[in-house]
């Protein structure tokens, strides 16, 4: 079968097509699917079909997605990687830029795409996208700098047989999972199916857009017998970089140029393989390798992939963007430590330092719009449990993340691509941590790499910088869906004054709030009178009681009292006289004499 293609047309067609409007009318509903041929399950389909269709636009186009939610739960769509400059209200994360779109409602996403590259879209309502509501978003560039013959895409994903909401509620975010072990996927998918046979012509250069649309596991990808050149990451063009294997975390994209061989007598496997270090345990039934084939000859053999000794992948830190920028100087720094810990309900949560993310009652963007002008710049009104930071327009913002956890975390910043200033290695042991020391920096590239999703190594750190020139409320979070459910997110309110000037929230967005019964005005606690009064806001569960609470002290005292009373009774028993014993003995003995009682016997 042909890999999904986006026909470019002849490379010599010079004149760029005039910017147009591309509209998709989607009815989102539940359908059934069985992509790994192992289990049929309910998934979120679009227009009655699954997988959801790709969105294909050209630079400069206006994209309109007219979504009607026919699911029995709310929904939303986030266009991952789109900067949404001037259209923050179209970004998609619920309770950040919009209310969840209730069942039965309609919602329109309408914005201009002023960037190029490989992206994707997915639901941003809780864990919904893991149930299948995700797909590629391709922005074609009429002025690409490369020569190639065909433009194709390949999505990678992990796949679960169980419903994601069920997994979160019953197996993941509960007290019966105190270590926070993430649910183990059941299969890997390529283009939402398996055993992909990609028909290729010899001596042809393909531009392959690799997009990880999964919810949890990073995957390695390699093509047996073929090397390739990395040309783009997350929408940022880079200097061609030769490589033979990539490590793609969820939400990341790599576009590569792959040139096929001269001969057509063999087929070559290409593999995607789970990063098994991310899984807490490895069930025997898990197929963590998924194979496809570069099919030169459909009648030839399709060999199994060879076993490899190690994963020798290209570290994206060293990519050099085509548009070179020197590292910016930071105007403001946000430093946080990623921590996973348990709270009073026994479940395991994720924290930036000591705060986990709990969604506010009013979407943060709507708080910006409804608050009094002078109060909108005060982070307080956005909630005490939303990890809210207010940024000044034009500042260079630096985010330093120290990983207090032994897991790999891919972090994504909405609304921007950031400069990757530093990224440390993982530490050698689980008990050691490598933290960022500004006075003792690690390796910094002359022209830092830029992208919008970057992974943090176990016990290590990274430093990123971006310019706050895109007014809006932008979410910054770990893209492992389970960790987002655990609250590993922060809210960046970038230039609230400018947001109020430039952003207009359309009527159907307000209507969705009203239809769903959500508050759309006020601070994080939906208080419209006093924005500094956060009473009633959603907060994280209480911490686990450390040591003796009142209940414990009472129990201990009671127990000691019982013990002493009991011992008192025993002492009483021991001291008391034994009146009946002698009596009994005498009764029994009756007339039989014992020498010491009644004299000699005869």
């Amino acid at each position: 079968m042909r890999l999904s293609t986006i026909l470019l047309g002849a490379a010599t067609a010079a004149a760029s097509v005039a910017a147009k409007t591309v509209q998709y009318d989607w009815v989102v509903s539940t359908v059934t699917a069985n992509p790994d041929d192992l289990y049929e399950r309910d998934v979120v389909g679009v227009n009655g079909a699954w997988p959801p269709p790709p969105i294909v636009v050209e630079k400069g186009d206006r994209l309109i997605v007219n979504m009607t939610n026919k699911l029995d739960q709310p929904a939303s769509i986030h266009f991952h990687g789109m900067y949404q400059n001037g259209t923050n209200e179209m970004d998609g994360p619920v309770f950040v830029t919009q209310c969840p779109v209730p069942s039965g409602s309609n919602f329109i996403y309408n914005f201009t795409v002023d960037q190029v590259g490989s992206y994707w879209y997915h639901s941003h309502y809780k864990a919904q996208y893991v149930n299948g509501f995700r797909g590629p978003l391709i922005v074609k560039d009429p002025d690409e700098p490369w020569d190639y013959d065909e433009d194709v895409y390949l999505t990678l994903s992990d796949w679960y047989h169980d419903d994601a909401f069920y997994l979160v509620k019953n197996e993941f975010l509960t007290l019966r999972n105190p270590t926070g072990a993430e649910p183990i996927p059941d299969a890997g998918l390529m283009n939402d199916t398996q055993n992909v046979k990609w028909k290729v012509e010899p001596n042809t250069t393909y531009k392959l857009r690799i997009i990880n649309i999964g919810g949890f596991v990073s995957q390695y990808i390699w093509f047996e017998g073929h090397d390739f050149e990395i040309v783009e990451v997350d929408g940022i063009y880079v200097e061609n970089q030769k490589a033979s294997m990539l490590y793609v975390t969820v939400a990341q994209r790599y576009t590569i140029l792959l040139t096929t061989k001269n001969t057509t007598d063999e087929n070559f496997p290409f593999m995607i393989s789970f990063d098994l270090n991310m899984l807490d345990n490895l069930p025997d039934t898990l197929q963590y390798n998924t194979t496809g084939w570069l099919t030169y000859d459909e009648d030839a053999d399709f060999p199994d992939a060879a076993v490899i000794d190690e994963f020798d992948f290209y570290d994206d830190f060293y990519l050099v963007p085509l548009e070179k920028e020197e590292p910016w100087e930071a105007d403001t720094t946000i430093t946080a430590t990623v921590i996973m810990d348990n709270l009073g309900d026994g479940a395991n949560y994720a924290f930036f330092s000591n705060e986990t993310y709990v969604a506010p009652k009013v979407p943060t963007l709507m708080t910006v719009m409804s608050a009094p002008e002078n109060e909108s710049t005060n982070a307080w009104i956005y909630g005490s449990n939303t990890n809210a930071h207010v940024l000044e327009y034009g500042d260079v913002v630096e985010i330093v993340l120290n990983n207090g956890d032994t897991g790999t975390h891919p972090f994504h910043l909405h609304g921007h691509a950031f400069q990757v200033i530093e990224r440390s290695n993982a530490s050698d042991s689980d008990d050691d941590f490598i933290t960022y020391d500004a006075s003792n920096p690690g390796i910094i590239n002359e022209y830092p790499m830029r992208r919008d999703t970057l992974y943090l190594r176990p016990n290590g750190y990274f430093v990123i910088r971006f310019k706050a020139n895109n007014p809006g409320v932008w979410f910054f979070h770990c893209h492992i869906e389970w960790h987002l459910e655990q609250g590993l997110a922060m809210t960046l309110i970038e230039a609230p004054t400018e947001i109020r000037e430039r952003i207009t929230i359309p009527d159907d967005h307000w209507a969705a709030c009203k239809a769903g019964g959500y508050s759309y005005e006020g601070n994080a606690a939906a208080n419209t009178e006093n924005y500094f009064d956060l009473t009633g806001e959603a907060v994280q569960p209480d911490p686990l009681p450390a040591g003796f609470t009142a209940r414990g002290i009472v129990a201990m005292v009671f127990s000691c009292v019982s013990a002493f009373l009991g011992m008192g009774f025993i002492t009483w028993y021991g001291m008391s006289e034994l009146k009946t014993t002698e009596h009994e003995v005498a009764q029994v003995m009756g007339e039989i004499p014992l020498d010491d009682e009644s004299g000699e016997s005869k």
């Binding site: 105190p178 026994g346 129990a555 013990a563 002492t571 021991g574 029994v588």
Partner: protein, 363 residues
């Protein structure tokens, strides 16, 4: 320390040794007072005394062999068969242990009663033995009555001790046995000796009271631990294998059932706190079950003591006056009948023997 000194083992061995030494001391007291014509002949007296000791020693040695074999077999068969239901087994064994030591505990405070009971028993047994001794076997047993009796009783007490010790310490490591066994034997023998010497009963009684208090503290701790083990078993089954990774921290216990939890001082694994665990049932993570269990145990002990005191004073349990009187009357009637029978047979025998032997040496 708890790994080399299993407290419940100490108490059981102590108690059984005590009982055995009481028997021996009663026998020796009888001898002193002239049974078996010891008053007439110091040589015979010395011989009979030697019989008592030899019999006891043999009985004791046999016990040691049996005990050693039993424990050796038990441990060589391997104890790691519990697997995922380890907590369940620990709980069951703790219940068995607490029941055993709770029942035997209070009896230690009625040593006089014990002594009297044994006097009666021994006397009756000696009567029977003397009466039944016919033929060679009979003559043998009659001749060595003073050896066989202690042998059998020591053997019986010893086997009882082994069985009980096995019952209370099914999950203890093998090296936790020798020390408490030796200490228990020493303590029990000491008390028995003091009783024989007619020592200060009051002082002995104080010691016994303290010992019994400790015994019941251990028993309460065991009961509390049993409840804790059952709840822990439920928790581990609920969560799965991850619990063992959590040490003493979050996730190692069920927050819904927790009465208190400290992240240190784990009674199962942390040094000195293990002693607290062995003596008082201390848990760093107490549950409703373990706390309520502990208190219920003491309440049960207090109620039992009250009932027993009541019975001793009045002769019957509360509300059971008429039943008790009937029951006791039956018991006494039976014993009296038996004594009558013995006496009748004694007279019969006397008649059969040379009539001119007025003084029968069977008394």
């Amino acid at each position: 320390m708890a790994q080399v000194f299993e407290v419940s083992v100490f108490f059981i061995v102590f108690r059984e040794t005590l009982e055995a030494s009481i028997i021996i001391s009663v026998l020796l007291a009888f001898l002193k007072q002239g049974i078996g014509r010891s008053m007439d002949d110091p040589v015979i007296y010395k011989r009979l005394v030697k019989h008592v000791w030899v019999g006891s020693a043999i009985g004791f040695l046999v016990c040691l062999c049996i005990g050693g074999a039993f424990i050796g077999a038990w441990y060589s068969l391997g104890r790691d068969v519990w697997g995922s239901s380890e907590d369940l087994w620990e709980g069951i064994f703790s219940i068995i242990a607490t029941v055993i030591i709770s029942i035997m505990g209070l009896a230690m405070l009625r040593l006089n009663k014990l002594k009297e009971k044994w006097r009666v028993k021994i006397a009756a047994a000696m009567e029977e033995r003397n009466r039944r001794g016919r033929g060679m076997f009979g003559r043998f047993t009659r001749k060595y009555a003073m050896a066989i009796l202690p042998l059998i009783t020591v053997l019986r007490e010893g086997v009882e001790a082994i069985v009980f010790v096995g019952g209370v310490s099914l999950t203890a490591p093998a090296k936790a046995f020798p020390l408490p066994v030796i200490c228990g034997m020493l303590a029990g023998s000491a008390i028995g000796y003091l009783m024989y010497k007619g020592g200060d009963f009051v002082k002995i009684q104080y010691f016994l009271i303290i010992a019994t208090c400790f015994l019941y503290l251990v028993g309460a701790g065991l009961f509390s631990k049993a409840c804790w083990y059952f709840q822990n078993h439920n928790w581990v089954s609920f969560v799965g294998s991850d619990v063992s990774e959590e040490g003493s921290g979050a996730g190692s216990y069920d927050v819904r059932q927790s009465v208190w939890h400290v992240n240190c001082c784990n009674g199962e694994t942390d040094g000195g706190w293990m002693i607290f665990n062995a003596l008082f049932g201390w848990q760093n993570s107490a549950t409703y079950g373990s706390v309520i269990g502990y208190n219920c145990y003491w309440i049960a002990v207090m109620v039992s003591v009250a009932l027993m005191l009541y019975k001793e004073k009045k002769g019957y349990f509360p509300f059971l006056k008429s039943w008790t009187e009937k029951h006791e009357a039956k018991k006494i009637a039976k014993r009296r009948a038996r004594m009558e029978r013995i006496r009748a047979e004694m007279e019969e025998e006397e008649d059969r023997v040379e009539p001119k032997n007025v003084e029968s040496d069977s008394v």
